[in-house]
Amino acid sequence: MTDNTPAQGEARFETALPGWQTVSLYQLAHARAGDKGNRSNISVIPYIDDVYPQLVSQLTESVVLDVFRHRGATAVKRYELPRLPALNFVIDNVLEGGVNDGLGLDGHGKALSFLLLESLTIEVPVEFLQALDQHRNRASNHFSS
Protein backbone atom coordinates (compact mmCIF):
# COMPACT_ATOMS: atom_id res chain seq x y z
CA MET A 1 0.00 0.00 0.00
CA THR A 2 2.87 2.29 0.88
CA ASP A 3 4.40 1.89 -2.49
CA ASN A 4 1.49 3.68 -4.09
CA THR A 5 2.61 6.87 -2.44
CA PRO A 6 5.42 7.89 -4.82
CA ALA A 7 3.12 7.01 -7.71
CA GLN A 8 0.48 9.34 -6.32
CA GLY A 9 3.15 12.00 -6.03
CA GLU A 10 4.03 11.61 -9.69
CA ALA A 11 0.39 11.82 -10.63
CA ARG A 12 0.05 15.03 -8.71
CA PHE A 13 3.15 16.38 -10.43
CA GLU A 14 1.33 16.20 -13.76
CA THR A 15 -1.63 18.12 -12.41
CA ALA A 16 0.33 20.76 -10.50
CA LEU A 17 -1.15 24.22 -11.04
CA PRO A 18 0.76 26.81 -13.07
CA GLY A 19 3.27 28.53 -10.80
CA TRP A 20 3.41 25.50 -8.49
CA GLN A 21 5.81 22.61 -8.42
CA THR A 22 5.79 19.20 -6.79
CA VAL A 23 8.80 18.62 -4.58
CA SER A 24 9.99 15.75 -2.42
CA LEU A 25 9.27 16.35 1.25
CA TYR A 26 12.96 15.59 1.82
CA GLN A 27 13.87 18.79 -0.07
CA LEU A 28 11.50 20.91 2.01
CA ALA A 29 11.83 19.67 5.56
CA HIS A 30 13.96 17.77 8.03
CA ALA A 31 12.70 15.31 10.61
CA ARG A 32 13.68 13.34 13.71
CA ALA A 33 12.08 10.17 15.06
CA GLY A 34 11.73 9.20 18.70
CA ASP A 35 10.19 6.11 20.29
CA LYS A 36 8.13 5.08 23.28
CA GLY A 37 7.19 1.44 23.37
CA ASN A 38 5.62 0.48 20.04
CA ARG A 39 4.82 4.09 19.16
CA SER A 40 6.94 6.52 17.17
CA ASN A 41 6.88 10.28 17.01
CA ILE A 42 8.32 12.01 13.98
CA SER A 43 8.77 15.77 13.90
CA VAL A 44 8.69 17.48 10.51
CA ILE A 45 10.41 20.87 10.44
CA PRO A 46 10.39 22.99 7.25
CA TYR A 47 13.70 24.50 6.14
CA ILE A 48 11.85 27.76 5.43
CA ASP A 49 8.86 28.90 7.49
CA ASP A 50 6.80 29.81 4.40
CA VAL A 51 6.38 26.12 3.54
CA TYR A 52 4.54 25.39 6.80
CA PRO A 53 0.98 26.09 5.49
CA GLN A 54 1.60 23.70 2.58
CA LEU A 55 2.74 21.04 5.02
CA VAL A 56 -0.38 21.57 7.12
CA SER A 57 -2.72 21.25 4.15
CA GLN A 58 -1.00 18.32 2.43
CA LEU A 59 0.74 16.31 5.15
CA THR A 60 -2.45 14.92 6.62
CA GLU A 61 -2.79 12.10 9.14
CA SER A 62 -4.13 9.71 6.49
CA VAL A 63 -1.29 10.48 4.05
CA VAL A 64 1.24 9.75 6.78
CA LEU A 65 -0.59 6.61 7.92
CA ASP A 66 -0.36 5.25 4.36
CA VAL A 67 3.44 5.53 4.50
CA PHE A 68 3.63 3.26 7.56
CA ARG A 69 0.68 0.91 7.09
CA HIS A 70 2.87 -1.94 5.83
CA ARG A 71 4.58 -1.96 9.25
CA GLY A 72 1.29 -2.40 11.04
CA ALA A 73 0.68 1.25 11.94
CA THR A 74 -2.90 1.62 13.13
CA ALA A 75 -3.36 5.35 13.72
CA VAL A 76 -1.63 8.69 13.26
CA LYS A 77 -2.21 11.77 15.37
CA ARG A 78 -0.86 15.07 14.06
CA TYR A 79 0.02 18.00 16.30
CA GLU A 80 0.44 21.46 14.77
CA LEU A 81 3.00 23.90 16.14
CA PRO A 82 2.66 27.02 13.95
CA ARG A 83 4.85 29.13 16.20
CA LEU A 84 7.98 26.97 15.78
CA PRO A 85 6.89 26.09 13.02
CA ALA A 86 6.75 22.30 12.95
CA LEU A 87 4.42 19.33 12.79
CA ASN A 88 4.64 16.36 15.15
CA PHE A 89 3.23 13.00 14.12
CA VAL A 90 2.53 10.25 16.64
CA ILE A 91 2.22 6.88 14.91
CA ASP A 92 0.74 3.94 16.82
CA ASN A 93 2.03 0.36 16.56
CA VAL A 94 4.60 1.19 13.89
CA LEU A 95 7.71 -0.24 15.57
CA GLU A 96 7.08 -3.98 15.08
CA GLY A 97 7.23 -4.38 18.85
CA GLY A 98 9.75 -1.62 19.56
CA VAL A 99 13.23 -1.70 21.00
CA ASN A 100 12.51 -4.32 23.67
CA ASP A 101 10.27 -6.69 21.74
CA GLY A 102 11.11 -6.21 18.06
CA LEU A 103 13.12 -8.45 15.74
CA GLY A 104 14.43 -5.77 13.37
CA LEU A 105 17.79 -4.05 13.62
CA ASP A 106 16.31 -0.61 14.30
CA GLY A 107 13.91 -1.33 17.12
CA HIS A 108 13.71 2.37 17.98
CA GLY A 109 12.58 3.17 14.44
CA LYS A 110 15.25 5.88 14.32
CA ALA A 111 15.46 5.63 10.52
CA LEU A 112 11.72 6.06 9.95
CA SER A 113 12.07 9.85 9.74
CA PHE A 114 13.83 9.30 6.42
CA LEU A 115 11.13 6.92 5.18
CA LEU A 116 8.60 9.69 5.75
CA LEU A 117 10.76 12.33 4.02
CA GLU A 118 11.45 10.00 1.09
CA SER A 119 7.90 8.79 0.52
CA LEU A 120 5.92 11.99 0.19
CA THR A 121 5.80 14.97 -2.13
CA ILE A 122 4.39 18.43 -1.53
CA GLU A 123 3.15 21.03 -4.00
CA VAL A 124 4.64 24.45 -3.37
CA PRO A 125 4.71 27.78 -5.21
CA VAL A 126 7.83 27.85 -7.41
CA GLU A 127 9.21 30.96 -5.72
CA PHE A 128 9.64 28.89 -2.55
CA LEU A 129 12.30 26.86 -4.34
CA GLN A 130 14.38 30.01 -4.80
CA ALA A 131 13.95 30.87 -1.13
CA LEU A 132 15.01 27.31 -0.31
CA ASP A 133 18.17 27.68 -2.41
CA GLN A 134 18.97 30.95 -0.68
CA HIS A 135 18.50 29.28 2.70
CA ARG A 136 20.87 26.47 1.67
CA ASN A 137 23.54 28.90 0.43
CA ARG A 138 23.26 31.00 3.58
CA ALA A 139 23.57 27.90 5.70
CA SER A 140 26.63 26.58 3.87
CA ASN A 141 28.35 30.01 4.00
CA HIS A 142 27.52 30.16 7.69
CA PHE A 143 29.18 26.80 8.29
CA SER A 144 32.30 27.53 6.28
CA SER A 145 32.92 30.90 7.98
Binding site: T2, D3, Y26, H30, A31, R32, G34, D35, K36, G37, N38, R39, N41, S43, I45, Y47, H70, R71, G72, K77, Y79, L81, R83, L84, A86, N88, V90, E96, G98, N100, D101, L103, G104, L105, D106, A111, L112, L115, A139, S140, H142, F143
Partner: protein, 457 residues
Protein backbone atom coordinates in the same frame (compact mmCIF):
# COMPACT_ATOMS: atom_id res chain seq x y z
CA UNK B 1 21.76 41.92 39.28
CA UNK B 2 20.72 39.31 36.78
CA UNK B 3 21.83 35.96 38.14
CA UNK B 4 22.50 33.08 35.78
CA UNK B 5 22.85 29.36 36.39
CA UNK B 6 25.09 27.37 34.04
CA UNK B 7 24.40 23.71 33.32
CA UNK B 8 26.51 21.63 30.97
CA UNK B 9 25.95 18.14 29.61
CA UNK B 10 28.58 15.42 29.96
CA UNK B 11 26.68 12.51 28.40
CA UNK B 12 23.32 11.96 26.73
CA UNK B 13 23.03 8.18 26.83
CA UNK B 14 24.75 5.12 28.25
CA UNK B 15 27.91 4.77 26.20
CA UNK B 16 28.15 8.39 25.03
CA UNK B 17 31.66 9.79 24.42
CA UNK B 18 33.63 9.45 27.65
CA UNK B 19 35.73 12.60 27.14
CA UNK B 20 32.96 14.95 25.97
CA UNK B 21 32.70 16.67 29.36
CA UNK B 22 36.32 17.87 29.42
CA UNK B 23 35.79 21.04 27.30
CA UNK B 24 32.40 21.58 28.96
CA UNK B 25 34.06 21.61 32.39
CA UNK B 26 36.80 23.96 31.13
CA UNK B 27 34.14 26.41 29.92
CA UNK B 28 31.98 26.09 33.04
CA UNK B 29 35.05 26.81 35.19
CA UNK B 30 35.20 30.29 33.64
CA UNK B 31 31.49 31.04 34.14
CA UNK B 32 30.40 33.38 36.89
CA UNK B 33 27.53 31.85 38.83
CA UNK B 34 26.31 28.49 40.10
CA UNK B 35 27.37 25.75 37.71
CA UNK B 36 26.44 22.13 37.16
CA UNK B 37 27.46 19.17 35.03
CA UNK B 38 24.85 16.52 34.24
CA UNK B 39 25.17 12.96 32.97
CA UNK B 40 22.17 11.07 31.55
CA UNK B 41 23.36 7.50 31.11
CA UNK B 42 20.43 5.29 32.02
CA UNK B 43 18.38 2.99 29.85
CA UNK B 44 15.29 0.95 30.72
CA UNK B 45 16.99 -2.33 29.90
CA UNK B 46 20.16 -1.54 31.82
CA UNK B 47 18.08 -0.81 34.91
CA UNK B 48 16.47 -4.26 34.87
CA UNK B 49 19.83 -5.97 34.45
CA UNK B 50 21.26 -3.78 37.23
CA UNK B 51 18.48 -4.89 39.62
CA UNK B 52 19.51 -8.48 39.02
CA UNK B 53 23.19 -7.66 39.67
CA UNK B 54 22.27 -5.86 42.90
CA UNK B 55 20.38 -8.88 44.19
CA UNK B 56 23.53 -10.95 43.73
CA UNK B 57 25.93 -8.31 45.14
CA UNK B 58 24.86 -5.35 47.33
CA UNK B 59 27.77 -3.28 45.95
CA UNK B 60 26.76 -3.82 42.32
CA UNK B 61 23.93 -2.53 40.18
CA UNK B 62 25.08 1.05 39.60
CA UNK B 63 26.15 2.35 36.21
CA UNK B 64 29.20 0.54 34.83
CA UNK B 65 30.02 3.79 33.03
CA UNK B 66 30.73 5.79 36.18
CA UNK B 67 34.42 4.91 36.07
CA UNK B 68 34.63 5.89 32.39
CA UNK B 69 33.16 9.34 32.86
CA UNK B 70 34.18 10.77 36.21
CA UNK B 71 37.96 10.29 36.70
CA UNK B 72 38.81 12.84 33.98
CA UNK B 73 36.70 15.67 35.41
CA UNK B 74 36.02 15.05 39.11
CA UNK B 75 39.03 17.02 40.45
CA UNK B 76 38.35 20.01 38.18
CA UNK B 77 34.67 20.00 39.12
CA UNK B 78 35.48 20.01 42.82
CA UNK B 79 38.10 22.74 42.39
CA UNK B 80 35.81 25.06 40.41
CA UNK B 81 32.61 24.38 42.33
CA UNK B 82 30.91 22.57 39.45
CA UNK B 83 28.34 20.29 41.04
CA UNK B 84 27.57 17.00 39.32
CA UNK B 85 24.02 15.68 38.95
CA UNK B 86 23.86 12.28 37.30
CA UNK B 87 21.85 9.08 37.07
CA UNK B 88 24.83 6.79 37.58
CA UNK B 89 22.78 5.31 40.43
CA UNK B 90 20.84 2.90 38.24
CA UNK B 91 19.47 0.21 40.61
CA UNK B 92 21.88 1.10 43.40
CA UNK B 93 22.57 4.83 43.97
CA UNK B 94 24.15 4.16 47.39
CA UNK B 95 26.75 1.83 45.90
CA UNK B 96 27.42 4.41 43.18
CA UNK B 97 27.95 7.05 45.86
CA UNK B 98 30.40 4.81 47.72
CA UNK B 99 32.30 4.30 44.47
CA UNK B 100 32.48 8.09 43.84
CA UNK B 101 33.83 8.59 47.38
CA UNK B 102 36.43 5.89 46.78
CA UNK B 103 37.32 7.50 43.47
CA UNK B 104 37.83 10.83 45.24
CA UNK B 105 40.25 9.09 47.62
CA UNK B 106 42.13 7.51 44.73
CA UNK B 107 42.42 10.92 43.03
CA UNK B 108 43.36 12.67 46.30
CA UNK B 109 40.31 14.95 46.12
CA UNK B 110 39.62 16.14 49.64
CA UNK B 111 36.22 16.64 51.23
CA UNK B 112 34.09 15.49 48.33
CA UNK B 113 30.48 15.07 49.44
CA UNK B 114 27.90 12.88 47.72
CA UNK B 115 24.15 12.44 48.15
CA UNK B 116 21.66 10.08 46.58
CA UNK B 117 17.94 10.15 45.84
CA UNK B 118 16.05 7.07 46.99
CA UNK B 119 12.52 5.85 46.48
CA UNK B 120 12.24 5.17 42.76
CA UNK B 121 12.37 1.39 43.31
CA UNK B 122 8.77 0.38 44.11
CA UNK B 123 9.82 -3.14 45.05
CA UNK B 124 11.56 -1.67 48.11
CA UNK B 125 8.17 -0.87 49.60
CA UNK B 126 5.43 -2.54 47.51
CA UNK B 127 4.91 -6.21 46.76
CA UNK B 128 5.22 -7.47 43.19
CA UNK B 129 1.54 -8.50 43.37
CA UNK B 130 0.53 -4.97 44.34
CA UNK B 131 2.60 -3.51 41.48
CA UNK B 132 1.20 -5.94 38.91
CA UNK B 133 -2.39 -5.10 39.88
CA UNK B 134 -1.99 -1.74 38.11
CA UNK B 135 -3.15 -1.93 34.48
CA UNK B 136 -0.41 -1.48 31.87
CA UNK B 137 -0.76 1.67 29.80
CA UNK B 138 1.87 0.70 27.23
CA UNK B 139 4.40 -1.97 26.43
CA UNK B 140 4.60 -5.72 26.64
CA UNK B 141 2.10 -8.07 28.29
CA UNK B 142 3.54 -8.76 31.75
CA UNK B 143 1.20 -11.66 32.57
CA UNK B 144 3.07 -14.76 33.66
CA UNK B 145 6.48 -13.13 33.30
CA UNK B 146 8.99 -12.71 36.11
CA UNK B 147 8.98 -9.08 37.31
CA UNK B 148 12.61 -7.91 37.27
CA UNK B 149 12.14 -4.30 38.28
CA UNK B 150 9.57 -1.57 38.90
CA UNK B 151 10.96 1.95 38.98
CA UNK B 152 9.10 5.24 39.08
CA UNK B 153 10.17 8.31 37.17
CA UNK B 154 10.81 10.73 40.02
CA UNK B 155 10.74 14.46 39.42
CA UNK B 156 13.11 17.32 40.18
CA UNK B 157 12.15 18.06 43.82
CA UNK B 158 14.22 15.23 45.34
CA UNK B 159 17.24 16.38 43.30
CA UNK B 160 16.81 19.89 44.71
CA UNK B 161 16.53 18.42 48.23
CA UNK B 162 19.77 16.53 47.70
CA UNK B 163 21.53 19.69 46.52
CA UNK B 164 20.25 21.51 49.60
CA UNK B 165 22.39 19.14 51.68
CA UNK B 166 25.38 21.03 50.27
CA UNK B 167 26.94 18.09 48.47
CA UNK B 168 29.22 18.17 45.41
CA UNK B 169 27.64 15.21 43.64
CA UNK B 170 24.01 14.04 43.45
CA UNK B 171 23.32 10.55 42.15
CA UNK B 172 19.83 9.41 41.26
CA UNK B 173 18.36 6.15 40.06
CA UNK B 174 15.30 6.43 37.85
CA UNK B 175 14.10 10.00 37.46
CA UNK B 176 12.97 12.04 34.50
CA UNK B 177 15.96 13.08 32.45
CA UNK B 178 14.85 16.72 32.68
CA UNK B 179 14.98 16.50 36.50
CA UNK B 180 18.78 16.52 36.27
CA UNK B 181 18.48 20.14 35.08
CA UNK B 182 15.24 21.28 36.72
CA UNK B 183 16.48 20.06 40.13
CA UNK B 184 19.44 22.48 40.18
CA UNK B 185 17.21 25.33 38.95
CA UNK B 186 14.64 24.70 41.70
CA UNK B 187 17.50 24.63 44.20
CA UNK B 188 19.08 27.88 42.94
CA UNK B 189 15.95 29.92 42.26
CA UNK B 190 13.52 28.47 44.79
CA UNK B 191 10.84 27.88 42.16
CA UNK B 192 7.64 26.77 43.93
CA UNK B 193 5.35 23.88 43.03
CA UNK B 194 2.67 26.18 41.61
CA UNK B 195 5.03 28.28 39.46
CA UNK B 196 4.15 26.20 36.45
CA UNK B 197 5.60 28.42 33.72
CA UNK B 198 8.98 28.51 35.45
CA UNK B 199 8.93 24.76 35.99
CA UNK B 200 7.97 24.37 32.33
CA UNK B 201 10.90 26.55 31.27
CA UNK B 202 13.29 24.50 33.40
CA UNK B 203 11.84 21.30 31.96
CA UNK B 204 12.44 22.56 28.42
CA UNK B 205 16.03 23.37 29.39
CA UNK B 206 16.37 19.86 30.77
CA UNK B 207 14.78 18.27 27.72
CA UNK B 208 17.20 20.12 25.43
CA UNK B 209 20.31 19.41 27.51
CA UNK B 210 19.76 15.82 28.60
CA UNK B 211 20.53 14.20 25.25
CA UNK B 212 23.96 15.80 25.03
CA UNK B 213 25.14 16.36 21.47
CA UNK B 214 21.67 15.72 20.01
CA UNK B 215 21.06 19.46 20.39
CA UNK B 216 24.51 20.59 19.25
CA UNK B 217 24.86 18.97 15.85
CA UNK B 218 24.92 15.30 16.79
CA UNK B 219 22.27 13.12 15.17
CA UNK B 220 21.55 16.02 12.78
CA UNK B 221 24.09 15.96 9.96
CA UNK B 222 22.92 15.05 6.46
CA UNK B 223 25.73 16.01 4.07
CA UNK B 224 24.68 18.62 1.52
CA UNK B 225 21.35 19.15 3.25
CA UNK B 226 22.22 19.79 6.89
CA UNK B 227 25.96 20.15 7.27
CA UNK B 228 27.67 20.14 10.64
CA UNK B 229 31.29 21.30 10.98
CA UNK B 230 33.77 19.01 12.73
CA UNK B 231 31.22 16.40 13.75
CA UNK B 232 34.06 14.29 15.17
CA UNK B 233 34.67 16.99 17.79
CA UNK B 234 31.08 18.03 18.55
CA UNK B 235 30.89 20.22 21.62
CA UNK B 236 28.33 19.17 24.20
CA UNK B 237 25.75 21.82 25.12
CA UNK B 238 25.85 24.32 27.95
CA UNK B 239 22.67 26.06 29.07
CA UNK B 240 22.58 29.44 30.77
CA UNK B 241 19.28 29.91 32.56
CA UNK B 242 18.09 33.03 34.37
CA UNK B 243 15.59 33.35 37.22
CA UNK B 244 12.75 33.87 34.73
CA UNK B 245 13.57 30.57 33.06
CA UNK B 246 15.01 32.11 29.91
CA UNK B 247 17.47 29.69 28.35
CA UNK B 248 20.50 30.43 26.24
CA UNK B 249 22.12 27.37 24.68
CA UNK B 250 25.72 27.33 23.51
CA UNK B 251 28.74 25.03 23.47
CA UNK B 252 32.41 25.25 24.44
CA UNK B 253 34.69 27.41 22.29
CA UNK B 254 36.96 25.51 19.95
CA UNK B 255 34.65 22.53 19.62
CA UNK B 256 32.89 21.28 16.52
CA UNK B 257 29.20 20.74 16.05
CA UNK B 258 26.40 23.22 15.53
CA UNK B 259 23.76 24.89 17.63
CA UNK B 260 21.12 26.50 15.41
CA UNK B 261 17.38 26.98 15.38
CA UNK B 262 17.11 23.77 13.34
CA UNK B 263 19.19 21.63 15.72
CA UNK B 264 17.19 22.93 18.68
CA UNK B 265 13.80 22.36 17.02
CA UNK B 266 14.67 18.74 16.20
CA UNK B 267 15.59 18.09 19.81
CA UNK B 268 12.69 20.10 21.24
CA UNK B 269 10.21 17.61 19.76
CA UNK B 270 12.36 14.52 20.28
CA UNK B 271 10.32 11.78 21.98
CA UNK B 272 7.47 14.22 22.59
CA UNK B 273 3.97 13.01 21.81
CA UNK B 274 1.33 15.65 22.57
CA UNK B 275 3.42 18.87 22.59
CA UNK B 276 0.61 20.71 24.38
CA UNK B 277 0.49 18.22 27.24
CA UNK B 278 3.92 16.74 27.89
CA UNK B 279 3.48 15.05 31.25
CA UNK B 280 6.23 15.16 33.86
CA UNK B 281 6.10 14.69 37.64
CA UNK B 282 6.81 18.42 38.09
CA UNK B 283 4.65 20.11 35.49
CA UNK B 284 2.53 19.47 32.41
CA UNK B 285 4.40 21.21 29.64
CA UNK B 286 2.96 23.09 26.65
CA UNK B 287 5.41 23.86 23.84
CA UNK B 288 2.92 25.79 21.65
CA UNK B 289 4.34 29.25 22.38
CA UNK B 290 8.02 28.34 22.57
CA UNK B 291 10.29 30.68 20.65
CA UNK B 292 13.69 29.58 19.40
CA UNK B 293 15.94 32.39 18.17
CA UNK B 294 19.56 32.37 16.98
CA UNK B 295 21.25 35.21 18.86
CA UNK B 296 24.88 34.62 17.81
CA UNK B 297 26.97 31.91 16.16
CA UNK B 298 26.19 28.60 17.89
CA UNK B 299 24.02 30.44 20.38
CA UNK B 300 20.25 30.05 20.57
CA UNK B 301 17.76 31.47 23.03
CA UNK B 302 14.68 29.49 24.03
CA UNK B 303 11.71 31.11 25.78
CA UNK B 304 7.95 30.87 26.05
CA UNK B 305 7.28 27.45 27.58
CA UNK B 306 3.97 27.27 29.43
CA UNK B 307 3.10 25.01 32.33
CA UNK B 308 0.01 23.44 33.84
CA UNK B 309 -0.41 21.28 36.96
CA UNK B 310 1.30 17.87 36.80
CA UNK B 311 -0.71 14.63 36.88
CA UNK B 312 -1.50 13.02 40.24
CA UNK B 313 0.11 9.77 39.12
CA UNK B 314 3.71 8.89 38.34
CA UNK B 315 4.81 6.67 35.49
CA UNK B 316 6.47 3.44 36.56
CA UNK B 317 8.45 1.24 34.20
CA UNK B 318 8.16 -2.49 34.76
CA UNK B 319 10.77 -4.82 33.36
CA UNK B 320 10.00 -8.47 32.80
CA UNK B 321 11.96 -11.39 31.44
CA UNK B 322 11.85 -11.08 27.64
CA UNK B 323 13.23 -14.46 26.61
CA UNK B 324 16.10 -14.78 24.16
CA UNK B 325 17.06 -13.07 20.92
CA UNK B 326 19.11 -15.16 18.50
CA UNK B 327 20.65 -13.31 15.57
CA UNK B 328 23.15 -14.08 12.83
CA UNK B 329 24.30 -12.56 9.53
CA UNK B 330 26.25 -13.59 6.44
CA UNK B 331 27.27 -11.51 3.39
CA UNK B 332 27.24 -12.08 -0.37
CA UNK B 333 28.96 -9.83 -2.92
CA UNK B 334 29.51 -9.55 -6.66
CA UNK B 335 27.56 -11.03 -9.59
CA UNK B 336 24.12 -12.36 -8.67
CA UNK B 337 24.68 -11.54 -4.99
CA UNK B 338 21.01 -10.78 -4.39
CA UNK B 339 19.85 -14.17 -5.70
CA UNK B 340 22.45 -15.94 -3.57
CA UNK B 341 21.37 -14.01 -0.47
CA UNK B 342 17.73 -14.87 -1.23
CA UNK B 343 18.60 -18.54 -1.61
CA UNK B 344 20.39 -18.38 1.75
CA UNK B 345 17.24 -16.89 3.31
CA UNK B 346 15.18 -19.71 1.81
CA UNK B 347 17.57 -22.32 3.22
CA UNK B 348 17.37 -20.83 6.73
CA UNK B 349 13.55 -20.69 6.57
CA UNK B 350 13.30 -24.35 5.55
CA UNK B 351 15.80 -25.41 8.22
CA UNK B 352 13.68 -23.60 10.84
CA UNK B 353 10.74 -25.76 9.78
CA UNK B 354 12.89 -28.89 9.94
CA UNK B 355 14.14 -28.00 13.41
CA UNK B 356 10.74 -26.99 14.74
CA UNK B 357 11.64 -23.35 15.39
CA UNK B 358 8.12 -21.88 15.34
CA UNK B 359 8.81 -18.68 17.27
CA UNK B 360 8.57 -15.28 15.56
CA UNK B 361 11.44 -14.95 13.08
CA UNK B 362 12.64 -12.13 10.88
CA UNK B 363 14.73 -13.21 7.92
CA UNK B 364 15.81 -10.29 5.77
CA UNK B 365 18.42 -9.15 3.28
CA UNK B 366 20.30 -6.07 4.40
CA UNK B 367 20.82 -3.71 1.48
CA UNK B 368 17.17 -3.83 0.44
CA UNK B 369 16.20 -0.94 2.77
CA UNK B 370 15.15 -3.34 5.52
CA UNK B 371 15.12 -0.60 8.15
CA UNK B 372 11.92 0.62 6.50
CA UNK B 373 10.41 -2.83 6.12
CA UNK B 374 8.11 -4.98 8.22
CA UNK B 375 9.02 -8.37 9.70
CA UNK B 376 7.47 -10.10 6.71
CA UNK B 377 9.52 -8.13 4.17
CA UNK B 378 6.54 -6.88 2.14
CA UNK B 379 8.37 -3.72 1.09
CA UNK B 380 11.55 -5.43 -0.15
CA UNK B 381 9.42 -7.72 -2.34
CA UNK B 382 7.73 -4.82 -4.07
CA UNK B 383 10.88 -2.80 -4.80
CA UNK B 384 13.51 -3.28 -7.50
CA UNK B 385 17.07 -3.98 -6.37
CA UNK B 386 20.38 -4.50 -8.19
CA UNK B 387 21.03 -8.17 -8.85
CA UNK B 388 24.73 -7.57 -8.24
CA UNK B 389 26.45 -5.67 -5.47
CA UNK B 390 26.65 -6.53 -1.80
CA UNK B 391 23.89 -8.01 0.35
CA UNK B 392 23.84 -9.42 3.84
CA UNK B 393 21.40 -12.03 5.08
CA UNK B 394 20.19 -11.46 8.60
CA UNK B 395 18.10 -13.92 10.60
CA UNK B 396 16.61 -13.17 14.01
CA UNK B 397 14.36 -15.11 16.35
CA UNK B 398 12.79 -14.29 19.70
CA UNK B 399 12.06 -17.30 21.84
CA UNK B 400 11.81 -18.45 25.44
CA UNK B 401 14.32 -21.17 24.61
CA UNK B 402 18.01 -20.26 24.62
CA UNK B 403 18.65 -23.49 22.71
CA UNK B 404 16.36 -22.47 19.86
CA UNK B 405 17.88 -19.00 19.70
CA UNK B 406 21.31 -20.61 19.35
CA UNK B 407 19.99 -23.11 16.78
CA UNK B 408 18.83 -20.33 14.47
CA UNK B 409 22.18 -18.55 14.79
CA UNK B 410 23.95 -21.84 14.03
CA UNK B 411 21.89 -22.34 10.88
CA UNK B 412 23.38 -19.12 9.49
CA UNK B 413 26.86 -20.31 10.47
CA UNK B 414 26.20 -23.59 8.66
CA UNK B 415 25.70 -21.62 5.43
CA UNK B 416 29.50 -21.40 5.29
CA UNK B 417 29.60 -24.95 3.95
CA UNK B 418 25.96 -25.80 3.21
CA UNK B 419 24.69 -22.53 1.73
CA UNK B 420 25.01 -20.67 -1.59
CA UNK B 421 28.41 -19.90 -3.10
CA UNK B 422 30.67 -17.20 -1.74
CA UNK B 423 29.04 -16.43 1.61
CA UNK B 424 31.36 -14.79 4.14
CA UNK B 425 31.55 -12.70 7.28
CA UNK B 426 29.28 -14.61 9.65
CA UNK B 427 28.52 -12.94 12.96
CA UNK B 428 26.27 -14.44 15.62
CA UNK B 429 24.75 -13.27 18.86
CA UNK B 430 22.42 -14.86 21.40
CA UNK B 431 21.34 -12.55 24.19
CA UNK B 432 18.90 -12.51 27.11
CA UNK B 433 16.16 -9.94 26.60
CA UNK B 434 14.23 -7.65 28.89
CA UNK B 435 10.76 -6.44 27.98
CA UNK B 436 9.15 -3.37 29.53
CA UNK B 437 5.71 -2.01 30.27
CA UNK B 438 4.42 1.13 31.98
CA UNK B 439 1.88 1.61 34.74
CA UNK B 440 0.60 4.69 36.54
CA UNK B 441 0.75 4.82 40.35
CA UNK B 442 -0.74 7.44 42.68
CA UNK B 443 2.15 9.76 43.43
CA UNK B 444 1.72 9.89 47.21
CA UNK B 445 2.26 6.13 47.38
CA UNK B 446 5.72 6.76 45.92
CA UNK B 447 6.61 10.18 47.24
CA UNK B 448 6.12 9.11 50.86
CA UNK B 449 9.19 6.88 50.28
CA UNK B 450 11.28 9.41 48.34
CA UNK B 451 14.18 11.02 50.15
CA UNK B 452 17.59 12.57 49.64
CA UNK B 453 20.44 11.25 51.82
CA UNK B 454 24.11 12.05 52.08
CA UNK B 455 26.35 9.00 51.87
CA UNK B 456 29.52 9.19 53.94
CA UNK B 457 31.19 5.84 53.42
Amino acid sequence: MNQQVYIGSGAGFAGDRFDAAVPVVATLARCDGPKYLIYEVMGERTLAIAQRLKREDPDAGYSPWLDNYLPGVLADCKQHGIRIVANFGNANPKAAARRVLALADELAIAKLRVAVVEGDNLLDYLSAEDVLEHPCIEGTDTQGRELLSANAYLGARPVAQALALGVDVVLVGRSTDAALVLGPLIHEYGWQEHQYDLLAAGTVAGHLLECGAQVSGGYFADPGMKDVPDLHATGFPIGRIDAEGRLQLSKPDGTGGLISRATVLEQLLYEVHDPHNYLTPDVTLDLAEVEVVETAANTVSVTGACGKPPPDTLKVTLAVDGGWLGEAEISYAGPNALARARLAADVVRKRCTTLGINDPCRIEILGTSTLFDDDGGSRAESLQHDENGEYRLRAAVRTDSKTKAQQLADEVLALFCCGPAGGGGVRQSVSAQVSTASILVQRQRIESHTRAVEITS
